[in-house]
Amino acid sequence: MADTESPTPRLLLPAIAATALVVALTGTVQIAALVALGGAAGVIAGMRRGSRLVLGIGVTIQFWAVVVAALGALRVELVLLASMAVVLCWDLGEQAITVADQLGATGTGTRPFAVHAAGTLLVGTLCFGGVYSLYQIAGGGQPLLALVLLLGGGTVVLAGTRI
């Protein structure tokens, strides 16, 4: 993938804030925080170079940092928040690169960027709310059939999505 014009600092900040949030939230599990830090370096490098490939690698590393943190018994709320930050980091980073690509250094693109960010944030918050509520309601001690159906069904829906 060809490197292109790098986004302006104003558009860089939200994604960098999201990547920093991942590092901060996974902070209590040291090894996860270290992996997340490596991912953050990738994210920042990708954004500065305007390269989606490098950004994607950074985000992937951060995702696995969240997985490691979850296995390291990080609190569920923090794991969910960190994973949402990972999604936001990719989404906002990619959007910033797109704006830089299409509008160049002199074009103005803050407004559509803000609208897009608000949309993703809203959807992310709703998903977070829904998932967390389900977790609170289900609580534990649920029948195994429910778990199998939810997992199997969710996987099939996900496999069926074309995104």
């Binding site: 989606r52 969910l80 990619e94 690509d101 074009g107 609208v115 939810l150 969710g154 829906v157 999505t161």
Partner: protein
């Protein structure tokens, strides 16, 4: 690697979303799960071992692996907008020569050919300088440059950089040995030609690669493709290691993925209106362009990018022709920028619009024609107060060109014997008072000239000393407009022709209406377009037609940068047909690199050849005004 770039059309519309069969199956399973949570009694009759769940987790992990691999083979790319800021097809004399020297990818055969071309050019320049300095035409190059065999001087690796210090210096020096040697030879040629040492350093401007803009249509951006393997991996690892948090992470990612898949594609319901501050600016004057975009649809356009297609040949000097915004239904956004050109007629293209939906999963590229102003024509009717020095080839009508013919006029020409019928006021009464015979004073007759302005607008004339400087054709056209005004004001008859594959001819005439006609042609005619023609000039055909049309008494004012030999030949042939010719040559050559220095010397030598052929030449530097150059040249002629 597969890319998602390129046009995909409306069929892509169905590419996103959820597969029907899998979706229904999955949803049923999820609903069953939710019902089981709410009514645990349903599950009491069903027995599952925990081993089954672990197996399910492994299957999910295996599925995620497939998507990770798919992800590694896919790139996400946004639509490529058209490049609109800087599009020029003007070349710099000598850069082609520098590029030949710099090309490292040449094959052995083409390298030999390139070396031979370089050598031939250097040899021919050396021979001409020698000819000029020594007056002879024996064609032997100067001993200082090519005393030994030229090929050895330039291309033998053994003869220079000898010894350790020499080799170290060679390592430190910029460029290949060939580039350094050619630079040295060109510097030596320049020293011989100018009489003073000039610095010649090898430097090649970077070639800008043209990006191809995305074709109009709807395309999926694939930007959320990352979520799928992430969600499946989270669920798989969560199941295998029994982590509830990771299952929830999977669900969270799944939710966002479904949002992206369900988001509908955007429509391109926009109206664009462009207004130009002034559509007839003065040459080189910046023009303010204001563009407004209205959302004429009934839905929010969350991410809208408008790129106004700036006319080719114009450059953007302030602001940006690109604007990103989001518009509610019926809302309007406005932005502006400034563009500038030297002269000519420029037409705006359709504005490119890129619209993304809220999630950014779809991107629609469209070309929207703008209402309002669609073109700018630079005015060339500049007022001028300088006179154009003309040759003495005139018509029979009275004008202002002082001829060598004796008659009525102001400047004394000669005195001859009185003939019956000579007017009394021209009799030399002083001579009569002294008792001599009657004599008649003769004055130089002042007649009008018929001048055809011949503007060189071949591809070869579209040259400029710098990438952002006005081209020689721009300067020629403006100078021709000024000259036409000045000549018509002096009662001369003026015609116009183009030395170009695109024909332009206005027969010589005079008067205000004629001046307007000439200015209109210079501003608008296709022959003088700011973009070079795509065909080459064929002298055998075009020159014949110009010669046939030229009135026999017409003298020529040729505007050309003289950056190739063809124009020299054309001018000499026109001169040979009996037309007194003056060449006004806007200088488009520079210096610094071997190629540019060589181009400058070659041009000067060509001008010398023209002068030798009896053509008057005005060498017009980029920094000088035309009036000053004409004045300087006029002093030399008188």
């Amino acid at each position: 690697m597969t890319t998602t770039d390129g046009s995909t059309g409306e069929t892509e519309l169905n590419a996103l979303g959820v597969g029907r069969a899998l979706g229904v199956l999955g949803l049923l399973a999820v609903l069953g799960g939710l019902v089981t949570i709410l009514q645990p009694s349903i599950a009491s009759d069903t027995a599952f071992g925990y081993g089954f769940v672990t197996l399910l987790g492994v299957v999910i992990l295996a599925a995620s692996l497939r998507y990770w691999v798919g992800l590694a083979l896919t790139t996400v790319e946004s639509a490529t907008p058209p490049p609109v800021e800087e599009r020029r097809e003007i070349s710099i004399p000598g850069v082609a020569f520098d590029r030949t020297l710099a090309d490292h990818r040449l094959t052995a055969v083409s390298r030999l050919r390139a070396r031979r071309d370089v050598l031939d050019r250097l040899r021919s320049v050396a021979a001409r300088i020698h000819e000029r300095d020594h007056g002879g035409s024996d064609g032997q190059p100067d001993a200082n440059v090519f005393g030994e065999d030229a090929e050895t001087v330039l291309f033998d690796d053994a003869d220079r950089e000898q010894g350790l210090t020499g080799r170290l210096a060679a390592v430190r020096a910029k460029g290949t040995p060939l580039q350094r040697r050619v630079s040295d030879v060109v510097a030596e040629l320049a020293r011989q030609y100018d009489g003073e040492r000039v610095s010649v350093e090898f430097d090649v401007p970077e070639r800008t690669t043209a990006t191809r803009p995305s074709a109009p249509g709807l395309r999926a951006t694939n930007r959320f493709r990352l979520l799928k393997p992430m969600a499946l991996s989270a669920v798989g690892v969560g199941v295998v290691f029994g982590s509830a948090a990771l299952l929830l992470v999977g669900a969270l990612f799944g939710g966002v993925a479904v949002y992206a898949a369900a988001d509908s594609p955007p429509t391109a319901a926009v109206r664009i209106t462009r207004s130009v501050e002034t559509d007839q600016p003065a040459p080189g004057e910046p023009v303010r362009v204001t563009v407004s975009i209205e959302n004429t649809g009934d839905r929010l356009l969350p991410d809208l990018t408008v790129i106004d297609r700036v006319p080719e040949g114009c450059s953007v000097t302030a602001g940006s022709p690109r604007h990103g915004t989001s518009l509610r239904a019926g809302a309007t956004a406005t932005f502006g920028y400034e563009l500038e050109a030297v002269r000519g007629h420029h037409e705006f293209g359709d504005a490119a619009v890129i619209i993304r939906n809220l999630s950014g999963s779809f991107e629609r590229v469209a070309d929207v024609s703008a209402d309002g102003d669609a073109s700018i024509t630079y005015d060339v009717t500049a007022v001028t107060d300088h006179s154009i020095p003309l040759r003495k080839q005139t018509s029979r009508s009275v004008g202002r060109v002082v001829t060598d013919v004796g008659g009525s006029g102001i400047e004394l020409h000669s005195v001859r014997e009185y003939r019956t019928g000579d007017p009394l006021n021209r009799i030399d009464w002083n001579r009569a008072a002294a008792g001599e015979d009657l004599a008649t004073l003769q004055f130089r007759e002042e007649r009008s000239a018929t001048v055809v302005l011949l503007v060189d607008a071949r591809v070869e004339a579209y040259v400029a000393p710098e990438a952002d400087a006005p081209s020689a054709v721009d300067r020629s056209v403006l100078a021709a407009a000024e000259s036409a005004s000045a000549l018509l004001a002096a009662d001369d008859q003026v015609g116009l022709a183009a030395l170009s594959p695109r024909t332009c001819w206005i027969a010589p005439s005079s008067g205000h209406a004629h001046r307007t006609r000439i200015h209109e042609q210079l501003a608008n005619a296709e022959a003088f377009d700011p973009r070079p023609p795509d065909r080459s000039f064929k002298p055998a055909i075009r020159l014949q037609s110009i010669r046939k049309r030229l009135p026999s008494a017409a003298q020529l004012l040729v505007f050309s940068p003289v950056c190739d030999d063809e124009v020299v030949d054309v001018v000499r042939r026109l001169g040979a047909s009996g037309h007194a010719t003056t060449v006004i040559s806007p200088n488009a050559t520079g210096g610094g690199t071997p190629g540019r220095t060589l181009a400058r010397i070659e041009r000067s030598l060509r001008l010398s050849r023209l002068r030798e052929a009896g053509v008057r030449v005005v060498d017009w530097d980029a920094e000088e005004s035309l009036a000053l150059s004409l004045d300087k040249a006029g002093r030399r002629w008188s």
